[in-house]
Amino acid sequence: MQKYFEIKNLIINYKTFEGTKEILNIDYLGIDKAETFGLVGESGSGKTVLALTLLKLLAVPPGEIASGEIWLDGENLLIKSESEMQKIRGNKISMIFQDPMSTLNPVFTVGYQMTQVIIKNQKLNKKDAEKKAIEMIGIVKLPDPERIMDKYPHELSGGQRQRIIIAIALSCGAEFLIADEPTRNLDVTIQAGILKLIHELQKEFGITVLFIANNLGLVSAICDRMGILREGKIIEQGTVDEVLRNPKTDYTKLLLKTVTPARKKDKQVTSTTSEVLLEVKELQKYFPVKSISKATKNLNVKAVDGVSFTLNKGEILGVVGESGCGKSTLVNTLLLLHKPTQGKVFFDGQDIFALNKHDLRKARKNVQIVFQDPFWSLNPRWLVKDIIGEPLKVHEKLTADEYLAAVKKLMTMVGLPPEGAFKYPHEFSGGQRQRIAIARALSVRPKMVVLDEPTSAIDVMSQAQVLEMLEELKKNLQLTYIMISHDLSVVNYMSDKIIVMYLGKIVEYGESDIVFNNPKHPYTKALFNAIPGLHTRNVSELAIIKGEVPSAINPPKGCRFHPRCNYCMEICKTKEPEAVTFEGRLVECHLYGEGN
């Protein structure tokens, strides 16, 4: 019996100047009507190429469809002409991309773009199309649809844009939705909302969904059946339960092992001493708002607004919070990449904001940073040996041979082949590039390394390996880490202490075991419950925080979280809560004030 959607013997090649490369080779993939099918694979495994091929949007050349059939509702898409495909695209199949900005045109309002699509696909007049657009914006649960209609894409947040894309897809009555890592760059809280939305719409309109992800947790939460894609081949497919409970291939087993949320490294009490390495006191960093209008002239973005903590030698401190809460600004200010607005930072007993230029350069040796995006953190025009060796050149005098030997030793240390020294960064994968960045950070034997989202831009597989390596290096080199991540599972896995930030302030701070197992602050609770894991078999289990993060220029009075808090009391709206110790951690919330 034929399924609603089928791929048969599909082979796709890529032609580069070095020769032809097979990138997809799918024997068979079938999806039933009204089913949500999850496709999991690492980046580079061919997920996006597949999605583009289904819409016949694959660039040919360099791509080439060597053979195969793609059946949708009894029609073979691959033999359709371009004009026939245009009718199918949008009307029957719709796609949600990873980056919603690339799908929306920045120079038109959201409303204009939606009505244009509706007019074209549904042959409605302008007025009805507008009505329909407003209705659709309501369906994807965006507040105040009329106002949203007049906004430009850049005025919306990532999550809102993704909802608009979904609204556009649905407004043309698409029956088959392809979602290509739709939540990749979104915060867990926003992600939970989008997942729920897709799930609800799927149930309500009976659409069929092909959900592409790089993460098993996501697929487990919303899909009925799933497949694993590896190097262009589907190596396993079946119901989600079958695949996750009883994986057949080693690769799937490995993938399952690397999903970290529930997993906790065995914390052998490491070389944690009680010697204080870093002390941060009431640190503030405001960015002046660049504006010509008088009204906003002297306003500031309060990116970090009074943060204090201490870090002992040999500890790992995790910093979590939604994007924009000031995590990066905090560490960049610690590293003096930004001038602090106020506050003091003592590193190894030294007041680093008081150092002169010369001492500062010397002090920089001791604290190094690894950035989030391994694609822009390495100078694309430099050879790897020069990148890794740059700190050595700055701080030490070595002969050419010593220098090269040192670089090769560092490369071996982070698990890279030393021959790679004479290559350019773009010849390496994301995970390898992050290793290069780590080698560079370690080259001058720092005491502390700041890891700003070290694994969020790389694959789940490489992620686990990089984390293990960091763990190993920390032990061998007696390092102290500050680790930022919006991925709580990563922080949970690694850290000894954790800071939860919201809008420039710490809301909860303590031993990570204590905080993770029993979060107290309403924000922390919601944040933790928004992550889908393998145990999540239903999206309704995921927590959603209502609304969006307010602006850091004018944060809400009283408790900054109060407009979104489910436990909000009268006092929260006027009085800012103070940090109190409650069950072994510091928490800033009126629920835990004196008397409670």
Partner: protein, 297 residues
């Protein structure tokens, strides 16, 4: 021995990059044609003296008996009012135009991008200062500025070249500054800062190399326009002086004989046209390949 190996090793990836660039350049048929033409023009410029059928006609030569002959097998492009072989003069004109244009673009690019890099990377009052000066230069129409400079210094090819440099550098300053500002925000620059790398090194080793592609593209596109401007100045009598076989000057002289000897204007005109077109096409082609982001494979 070991040292040698290092340099070999360092060279290999560079060669690979160059090969890839060449491959990409060669792929587009128009770009390939432009590339071949430009290479031919360079060869002609170098060997003009040897391939010109009448090298003695290039500057002087006086053969009134043969003046203004139409094209023939002997004189492929005909002869001019003094009986000189126009073909030989056009061939040699290639070297004059290319040399002047390369000199002009070279200095404009060097001065312009140096100032732009400093302005963009350092910022603050230095940026303000450099950009205000740039604005002043840009507020004059370029041709007018060039004409005034030559008028002031006296007409000659060298002064025309200088005039072009003076009116073109600000464009590179602007371009470079914009690039530098965006590259400055990239994480690898922040990383270098965190390491303690000095300001100068950050500007010239990290920022500038990543800004250079658009500058090269712009420069190769500007080559055509600069050749045209130089020819224009010469046409107006402000550039090369007789008896230099400069194309613009040749067109200018030929206009007196246009009715009797249209070929006299036609062939130098074609030379200008082909040269400018090829440089423009090549510039377009380079734009597509020189961006490291657009080519991961």
């Amino acid at each position: 021995m070991f040292k040698n190996m290092i340099s070999m090793n360092t060279l290999a990836p560079k060669i690979k990059e160059a090969k890839l660039s060449f491959y990409l350049l060669n792929k587009n048929i128009l770009t390939r044609a432009a590339l071949i033409t430009v290479l031919l023009l360079i060869l002609v410029a170098i060997f003009a003296l040897y391939i010109a059928p009448f090298p003695e006609h290039i500057f002087l030569g006086n053969d009134p008996a043969n003046s203004l002959n139409p094209p023939s097998w002997k004189n492929l492009c005909g002869t001019d009012e003094l009986g000189r072989d126009i073909f030989s003069r056009i061939l040699y004109g290639t070297s004059i135009s290319l040399r002047a244009a390369v000199t002009a673009v070279f200095f404009a690019v060097t001065i312009g991008s140096f100032l732009g890099a400093v302005a963009g990377s350092v910022g603050g009052w230095l940026d303000e200062l450099i950009m205000r000066v740039t604005d002043i230069f840009l507020s004059f129409p370029p041709l007018l500025l060039s004409i005034s400079i030559v008028a002031l210094m006296g007409p000659s090819l060298n002064n025309a070249t200088l005039a072009i440099v003076v009116s073109w550098w600000p464009w590179y300053t602007r371009l470079m500054r914009g690039q530098a500002i965006s590259v400055k925000e990239k994480q690898f620059v922040k990383a270098a800062e965190a390491i303690g790398t000095s300001r100068m090194k950050i500007i010239f080793k990290h920022i500038v190399p990543n800004c250079i592609s658009p500058i090269i593209i712009q420069a190769s596109m500007d080559m055509g326009a600069v050749i045209l401007s130089l020819a224009g100045l010469s046409f107006l009598g402000l550039g090369a002086q007789p008896p230099t076989p400069e194309w613009g000057l040749m067109v200018s002289t030929s206009k007196n004989y246009f009715m009797n000897a249209p070929w006299y204007s036609l062939f130098p005109g074609i030379a200008i046209f082909i040269t400018v077109l090829s440089f423009n096409l090549l510039g377009d082609g380079m734009r597509e390949i020189l961006d490291p982001k657009t080519r991961k494979n």
